[in-house]
């Protein structure tokens, strides 16, 4: 480009800034309400998906549609001392609490939702486990990187960490983890395990 070096450098910086601004303006609307009207190119729409919540991995993709809807489904909660199995109705009969927490996905979107479910620490207490236990959480998914995950005591002991049964006032949609899923504050979306199968206390 012709012109003196400082104008070239300034042009370059303005160009990079303008391109970055345009990119943010046209994509960040999938997470920020303010930019929602400008969301031309983000892969997701804010409030899209069942129950106004986006879905990263559907029940069909995870191959859980059948096992998640099976009436014989039970959530196994086990510690060294005791193992208990809960049906969804039994979980609904326990003390339910509310928590407003976001799903913050590592793919770059984030959406707030109102969750209702059983406090994880209450379930741990039911098998005589300490609330600051380390846990292994398993999904019904037959395979997948996040079928099994571990959860540290910082999550298990938090009163807002739930085994969620409802979202935004309705029973969890199958694609959001029906019959039960984990929702914890400050945990990456892929580790908010859907279609729960077992919660084990690790020694």
């Amino acid at each position: 480009m012709k012109g003196n070096p400082s104008s070239t450098r300034r042009g370059f910086l303005v160009g990079v800034g303008a391109a970055a601004t345009a990119l943010v303006a046209f994509t960040a609307g999938q997470s920020f309400g303010l930019l929602d009207p400008l969301n031309l190119f983000a892969p997701r729409r804010r409030g899209g998906g069942p129950q106004s919540l986006p879905v990263n991995r559907t029940a069909a993709q995870a191959q859980v549609a059948e096992s998640a809807l099976d009436p014989s489904w039970r959530l196994t909660v086990s510690s060294a001392a005791l193992t208990r199995r809960f049906s969804r109705d039994q979980l609904l009969g326990l003390r339910l609490v509310d928590a407003d927490l976001p799903i913050a996905c590592v793919e770059g979107w984030s959406t707030d939702a109102s969750w209702r479910g059983v406090r994880l620490s209450d379930l741990l207490a039911s098998v005589h486990a300490a609330p600051d236990a380390r846990l292994r959480i398993t999904s019904l998914e037959p395979r997948g990187h996040y079928r099994v995950s571990t959860m540290g005591p910082e999550f298990a002991g938090d009163p807002r960490t739930l085994v969620a049964l409802e979202v935004n006032g309705e029973p969890l949609d199958l694609d959001h983890g029906y019959p039960a899923r984990i929702i914890a504050p400050g945990r990456p979306g892929v580790l908010q395990t859907k279609w729960l199968s077992a919660i084990e206390v690790l020694a």
Partner: protein
């Protein structure tokens, strides 16, 4: 700003940057398994190859084309046109993979729901119109200035 202050600021910035890099490398090496580190090295090497073998030559060719096509334009207008193309290219780089993914069969109906091709087309149309407007305004400005100079000389 005096030269001493400037040098101090630069050295300070460099020290902060190098310290942050060291912290990052420390946590990278102490928290990630070897397989992830190898994956990271491959990814970074591919990024360098992609930059040097594809992006840099492509930008160079585009730059030469723009320079030869805009030889008579004012430097400010050329910069503006360049910035507009830069915006269009960055958006295209992001939308391109989305278009490829839309073309493939995928099982999640909540993603990739927009008409990205049409929107990208409209953005390029807007960029095209803006470029035409800038060139026209620049040409008009140059002609007026030349005419003014001629009339002053006469």
């Amino acid at each position: 700003m005096s030269r001493t202050v400037l040098v101090t600021l630069r050295v300070g910035c460099a020290l902060v940057g190098v310290s942050l890099i060291c912290i990052g490398v420390f946590f990278l090496l102490t928290t990630e398994p070897p397989a992830a580190l190898i994956g990271l090295i491959v990814w970074l090497a591919a990024a360098v190859v992609l930059h040097d073998a594809v992006f840099a030559p492509a930008v160079n060719v585009a730059d030469r084309m723009l320079a030869s096509g805009a030889a008579r334009l004012a430097a400010r207008a050329v910069t503006a046109v360049r910035i507009l193309f830069c915006i269009g290219l960055v958006l295209t780089l992001v939308v391109g993979p989305e278009l490829v993914a839309q073309g493939r069969k995928h099982a999640n109906p909540t993603v990739l729901v927009g008409d990205f091709a049409l929107r990208l087309g409209l953005v390029w149309c807007a960029i095209g119109l803006a470029v035409v407007a800038i060139i026209a305004a620049s040409a008009l400005h140059t002609r007026r200035r030349t005419a003014r100079r001629r009339s002053t000389r006469a």
